[in-house]
């Protein structure tokens, strides 16, 4: 075991042990975003505090919060009706504040229809409810292909729908932010709301999978 003061290795080894600062590896778009943001603040389009507040609202969301909303809709018919009528109003009681002009729009899976969400133009996602989208949701591969060949993409996620089920792709291209209300799985009749929450996954709320029966 080396003792303090042992110094028989070269200094090149030291250099290799340092992680580069994140700022040293910023890409073109990260730098462009900072530059544009600073210019917009200088021009008074928005303030630095408004920008910070925007991130705070988006960071409020996470998939556990989404699961709470779904499990509530499964067990409370009035809440479900409210969620399907105007999602933004329904989730306000969970302190979810939709950003800007956007509105939460819930689409319900049934025995006849399976819904799946994509934003082909960028990566729109209900962040105040679900948090940040997964990387694959933002990938060009997913965005281009799920609109074009949804059944193949669903199969790649391991999702095979029963025959006769219509696949409905929603391109989140404007002011709605979509939440898939999955079907409550069979065999959960005696479950508490908390147990149901535990079954709901982010991917099921995007619609690339379904909520599986409990194992």
């Amino acid at each position: 075991m080396p003792t303090i003061g042992d110094h028989d290795h070269s200094h090149e080894d030291h250099e290799r042990t340092f992680q580069p600062d994140e700022e040293d590896s910023l890409g073109y778009y990260a730098i462009a975003e900072m530059a544009v943001r600073e210019l917009l603040i200088e021009r008074g389009i928005f303030t630095a505090d408004e920008f910070r507040r925007h991130l705070e609202v988006a960071d409020h969301g996470n998939q556990a919060l989404g699961a709470k909303v779904v499990a509530r809709a499964w067990t409370d018919p009035d809440f479900k009706a409210s969620l399907l009528r105007d999602g933004s109003v329904a989730v306000a009681e969970y302190d979810v504040e939709m950003l800007g002009h956007t509105r939460l729009y819930a689409v319900e899976n049934t025995h006849d229809v399976h819904n799946v969400i994509v934003c082909t133009l960028c990566s729109c996602y209900p962040k105040p409810l679900l948090g940040l989208p997964p990387d694959w949701y933002k990938s060009r591969n997913y965005r281009a292909r799920v609109a074009r060949e949804p059944r193949k993409v669903l199969a790649e996620f391991g999702t095979f729908l029963p025959e006769g089920v219509t696949v409905r792709v929603h391109d989140s291209n404007a002011d709605m932010r979509y939440l898939v209300l999955p079907m409550r799985p069979a065999g959960t009749e005696g479950y508490t709301v908390e147990q149901l929450e535990g079954l709901v996954t982010r991917d099921a709320m995007i619609g690339v999978t379904v909520v599986g029966a409990p194992v």
Binding site: H101, R103, V167, N173, A174, M176
Partner: protein
């Protein structure tokens, strides 16, 4: 501006290609679908992208397309659909008589 189309109306998406920030995806321009929902009035994003107020607000609709309309070679179930939001000024009433003539 009040909504001019109602749920169930058949509409065609304008086939034009202006520059700028356009929320009407290329792949749906010139295609025909059905109004699935009338969402209310929203500021025009094409104007807001230029730091203008986007007023007057435009009616926004959810339009449902058959996948086979969006992609003629679609090989999933013929009942599969693609829904998206289209602002009022991109919608044209469908005129089947003129189109078939």
């Amino acid at each position: 501006m009040s909504a001019r189309f109602a749920i169930g109306d058949t509409v065609r998406i304008a086939e034009r290609y202006p520059p700028g920030h356009i929320r009407t995806p290329y792949y749906i321009r010139g295609k025909t679908g059905v109004v699935a929902d009338v969402l209310g009035a929203f500021p025009n994003p094409e104007e807001r992208a230029k730091a203008r107020d986007g007023l007057p607000e435009l009616p926004l609709y959810r339009i449902r397309f058959r996948q086979t309309e969006a992609w003629p070679d679609y090989d999933g179930d013929p009942g599969d659909t693609l829904d998206m939001e289209i602002y009022h000024h991109w919608l044209e009433p469908d005129k089947p008589a003129e189109r078939s003539g």
